[in-house]
Symmetry: C2
Subunit: 158 residues, 2 copies
C-alpha cells in the first residue's frame, strides 16, 4: 500500500493545534473484544499541557473497556453545516488511556482543571462512579481535506 | 456492571430511523491490530433497504483494515452548534463490513444507487482503487441524551 501521508509542516501543525483546542467532544474507538472495536461519543477538554482529558461514568461500557484495553483512538473535528462532510478537517489520535484514580498524584489538579473548563460537571464530578481518563497520544493523523493527509508524532502535537 | 440500556420503544425506533436517514457521514471504528482500534470519518448513504453504504479508496488504511477484520462500528448523529455536545442524539452501529467487489451480484445496483445519492462521486466511483462497502448492523446503541440509552437489534432498525 502506498504511503498516503505527508510529513507535517507548520500549517498542518497549526491546524492540528486548533482542532485540539476547539474540541469539546470526540468519537472514542475502543476494544470490546479482540478485533471487535466499538465507538462512542465522549466529552473532552485538554489538560494544561494539551493532553485530551475526559470525565466518564464507570457504568458506561467504554470506561471498563479502555481500563482493560487502553489502546484506543479519538476522532475530533466537527463537520460544518454546508458542503461535503469530507472536506472538513479532522484528526485521529491513537492514544493510550490512563485512568486517573482519586489516589493518583495528578487527580486533584486535573479535577480542578476539568471543573474550571466544564463548570456544569460540578453536578457529578465527585460521584463515586465518575472517572477522569487522560488520553496520551502516540501518533496522529490529520486529514485536512481530499489529498491533504499528514502523519504526526507526539512531538508535532506540542 | 448494571445494564444501562433500555428496551426500545416506538420513539427510540423513530429517532434511530431519522438519524440513519439523515447521516451523510460516520465515524468508522476499525481494527489496526488485535486490541488496537482506530477511527476515521467516512461518507455514507443508505441502500434502498436501509443498510449503510460507503465508497472508499483502497489506498486508505481503513479499507484494508476492514477487509482483513470486518467487525467494525459506525457512530452517526451530528452535534449541533449549541449546548452540551452530549445532549445531541447519536447512534452506534456494531457492523460486519462486506466488500462489494465489481463482480458482486449487487455491485451494479448499489453503484447506481450510490451515484444517484451522491452525484459528485461520478468523478471517481469507477476508479480502479475505489470500493463500495456495505455495513451490516448486528446491534445498535442509541443514546438520546443523558439517561436515555437504548439497545436495538437489526429488527428494530427495520
Amino acid at each position: 500500500m502506498p504511503e498516503l501521508f505527508q510529513s507535517p509542516n507548520d500549517e498542518s501543525r497549526t491546524l492540528t493545534a486548533q482542532l485540539m483546542a476547539q474540541a469539546t467532544h470526540a468519537a472514542l474507538a475502543f476494544t470490546v473484544a479482540p478485533s471487535r472495536p466499538s465507538v462512542t461519543r465522549i466529552g473532552i477538554t485538554l489538560t494544561p499541557d494539551g493532553t485530551p482529558l475526559a470525565l466518564v461514568s464507570r457504568l458506561a461500557a467504554h470506561t471498563a473497556a479502555v481500563e482493560g484495553a487502553p489502546d484506543c483512538a479519538l476522532l475530533i473535528g466537527d463537520v460544518g453545516e454546508k458542503g461535503d462532510p469530507l472536506t472538513h478537517p479532522r484528526l485521529t489520535l491513537q492514544c493510550t488511556a490512563e485512568m486517573i484514580e482519586k489516589t493518583h498524584a495528578d487527580y486533584q489538579g486535573l479535577r480542578d482543571h476539568f471543573l474550571a473548563q466544564r463548570p456544569k460537571s460540578k453536578l457529578y464530578i465527585d460521584f463515586p462512579d465518575f472517572q477522569l481518563i487522560r488520553f496520551h497520544p502516540t501518533e496522529a493523523h490529520l486529514n485536512a481535506g481530499f489529498g491533504k493527509a499528514f502523519k504526526l508524532t507526539p512531538k508535532d502535537l506540542g
